[in-house]
């Protein structure tokens, strides 16, 4: 039929609608095929992780850890005698996919609880959906301060949402000893990601250090994944701080470190967790990994009885070291939840919640207790972390004293 006539009829439109109608039926059956009759046997846990896209690096490390956690839980008798089965949903770091994922995991897979979540955007987007379903969610990575704030503001609505991931104040508390004690700085410069959590960290850090008499002389924020740092390096040079604090935790961390090294800036910088704590990454950086200082949430030292066992098994299974955050906190998130359910002795969410609120749980990174925002608490005997320095692909632990393995190795061009 010629175009004009084709255009001047409504036929195409209606036919299209008919095809659409047919596809609804087809679609429902595609979606439905994942549906299974709920058996009493395995207990399903839904894991929301980014397995594709720019966050897949972290997402895959989370998945690694969940797999180990599953093994361990099941070896120890499972949750309330039931074996754990993990259903993964790839959020690709996308909020909408996160929401869809929650609905799929709850409605189709009938999961008992949710764990994971890498980016804060996904966490905040799913918070309400999860609250509506009234199902537990253990946030294991996303670090936005808004997440515990939700719980604090409306504890009834978000009662089943907990976080084993770190809070920005923890970043501060864990990094500050480097600035004040190890370097003894009077001024510092902050480099962060252009993101809400990093800006919040900047504020908390500034306030905290001001009280200790350390002044911030400048700051720069870069979009996640930035590769080129010449302008920031120049800015650091011109502000001449005693130390640089860098929360470039994603892909941008490595180019920053390399370019910082090349510029021979006369003071050290410390990376607040993230990519510069990854042993495999730093080893591959060669000489440019030397003198990189870092704060890490966990290390291959006996924080608890589980720590070194986990590190050993992780390296053995995957061929590279865990990062201490995405993996350790995810492992802990799932195992802490399992411990809580077993301790509560019931599948009742209310009881699980109060068990989580009132008790102390052993994890790989330390011991977990949750505050009024359902945020894992920081502190001696709970969770701390380490400060270290890389040289020749090996890390020296500088802090805290009980696990210390050496002193700060000064680069020849440092003035401190």
């Amino acid at each position: 039929m010629p175009i004009l006539e084709r255009n001047l009829t409504r036929r195409g439109f209606m036919k299209g609608m008919a095809v659409g109608a047919a596809s609804i039926v087809a679609g429902s059956s595609i979606l439905g095929c994942a549906q299974q009759t709920e058996e009493k046997k395995p207990l399903k846990i839904g894991a929301l992780v980014p397995l594709s896209g720019p966050s897949s690096e972290g997402g895959n490390r989370m998945k690694n850890a969940f797999e180990l956690a599953k093994e361990d839980i099941n070896k120890a008798g499972g949750i309330l005698g039931r074996n754990v089965e993990i259903v993964y949903y790839d959020t690709a770091g996308n909020a909408e996919k996160g929401v869809t994922g929650v609905k799929k995991l709850v409605e189709e897979d009938k999961v008992f609880a949710l764990v994971g979540v890498y980016t804060s955007g996904v966490a905040l987007a799913i918070a309400d959906v999860v609250a509506d379903y009234g199902i537990p969610l253990m946030v294991t990575v996303a670090a936005s301060p808004k997440i515990p704030q939700l719980v604090r503001d409306d504890p009834e609505r978000y009662k089943y949402m907990f976080r084993t991931g770190a809070d920005v104040t923890h970043f501060t508390l864990n990094t500050a000893p480097f600035v004040t004690d190890i370097v003894g700085a009077e001024t510092y410069y902050y480099v962060g990601q252009e993101a809400i959590w990093s800006k919040a960290l900047d504020k908390v850090f500034e306030g905290f250090l001001k009280d200790k008499g350390v002044e911030k002389v400048g700051s720069s924020f870069v979009p996640r994944g930035t590769q080129e740092f010449s302008s920031i390096i120049e800015d650091i040079k011109s502000k001449n701080p005693d130390v640089v604090v860098s929360s470039t935790v994603s892909a941008e961390g490595v180019p920053f470190a390399k370019q910082y090294y090349d510029a021979k800036i006369p003071v050290p910088f410390i990376a607040t967790a993230g990519v510069l704590t990854f042993e495999d990454v730093v080893k591959e950086m060669g000489e440019k990994g030397n003198y990189v200082c870092f704060m890490s949430w966990c290390w291959d030292v006996p924080f608890t009885g589980k720590t070194q066992d986990f590190y050993g098994r992780y390296k053995e299974t995957y061929g590279y070291a865990p990062t201490g955050y995405e993996d350790v906190r995810s492992y802990d998130g799932l195992t802490v939840f399992a411990q809580a359910v077993n301790k509560a002795g019931s599948e009742d969410y209310g009881e699980i919640r109060s068990t989580l609120e009132k008790n102390r749980f052993e994890g790989v990174a330390g011991y977990y207790e949750f505050d009024d925002g359902h945020q894992a608490k920081w502190g001696e005997g709970l969770l701390t972390g380490v400060i270290g320095e890389w040289y020749g692909g090996e890390a020296t632990i500088l802090w805290p004293d009980n696990v210390k393995t050496g002193e700060l190795k000064k680069a020849p061009w440092w003035r401190i």
Binding site: E57, G59, S220, F221, I232, V254, K258, D262, E287, Y320
Partner: protein, 286 residues
């Protein structure tokens, strides 16, 4: 003050030369084939990972790895063009979608082959060069020199070799070139491979300074987009000039305005230029 400005500018020029190299491949494919190759960034990624494969995993020296990876990506480009682009080349939109999906396919294949983890190519040369207001990594200087060398070679190829002349003719007018006995298909296949190779070379030069991950190709692709259009599609001097200008503009905006705006500014400039001169800075009027 003036030293800082000088140091910033030198850094900008050095990095801009590599941007230009990354954009050149896109410009050639656009000029000769009149298609937007969204997979260009994926070829960049491949170039980086092949260099990684040869130099780190197989322990070859950097120069050999660089050359091998450029050659392999050239071959991949040729095959890619033959199998995927050629059958649909006349449909601008289809090529666009295909190369977009193709970019994801390559990215995912890289992810499954090398893993999603961050990887590094250690410095192939260590040391710094003193410049006013500080020092720069010697790798940057050398990479810049190599990039300029490649550009110069490109000029010579286009100007004096048979294939280069054929490429220019096809770019000028496909039909006329065809009637003059030029095998247009083969020229286009070659150009596509060549474009891919240029992306891979840029990646091989930049990745020791930067970092490797499967989705690393998008950023240079988008930058190359802006450079190519800004400089005028198909104009090689325009692309080289714009690449360097972009490098400098980025570093200067990063320093004097803010690092977050430095990514926005090139695109704002692009829109401004294109509103004034619809064929870009060096593009010919139609």
């Amino acid at each position: 003050m003036i030293e800082t400005l000088l140091s910033l500018t030198i850094n900008g020029v050095l990095i801009g030369g590599l941007y230009a190299l990354a954009a050149l491949g896109l410009t050639i494919v656009l000029g000769v084939m009149r298609v937007i190759n969204v997979s260009h960034g994926a070829f960049y990624t491949l170039g980086a990972y092949f260099t990684f494969l040869f130099s780190i995993m197989l322990g070859m020296n950097y120069i050999t790895s660089f050359l091998l990876s450029a050659l392999i990506v050239f071959a991949i480009g040729v095959v890619y063009e033959r199998i995927l682009i050629k059958p649909i080349r006349k449909e601008e939109l289809n090529v666009l979608i295909l190369t977009f999906a193709g970019a994801f396919v390559i990215e995912e294949i890289v992810k499954f082959t090398f893993g999603p983890r961050y990887r590094n190519i250690p410095p192939y040369l260590s040391g710094t060069v003193d410049i006013p207001g500080g020092s720069v990594d010697i790798q940057r200087v050398l990479s810049f020199a190599i990039a300029i060398g490649i550009v110069a070679m490109l000029f010579i190829i286009l100007k004096f070799t048979k294939i280069g002349k054929a490429m220019r003719m096809v770019a000028e007018d496909e039909e006329v070139a065809g009637t003059l006995g030029i095998n247009v298909d083969r020229v286009q296949m070659f150009s596509f491979g060549f474009g891919a190779m240029l992306a891979a070379s840029a990646a091989a030069l930049l990745s020791p300074i930067y970092l490797l991950y499967p989705s690393m190709g998008w950023d240079p692709l988008l930058k190359a987009f802006a450079i190519v259009i800004f400089g005028g599609m198909g104009s090689i001097p325009g692309t080289v000039f714009t690449g360097i200008i972009f490098g400098v503009a980025e570093v200067l905006t990063g320093y004097y305005i803010s690092p977050t705006w430095k990514t926005v500014v090139p695109f704002l400039l692009l829109i401004l230029i294109i509103s004034i001169k619809p064929t870009g800075l060096f593009g010919e009027e139609e």
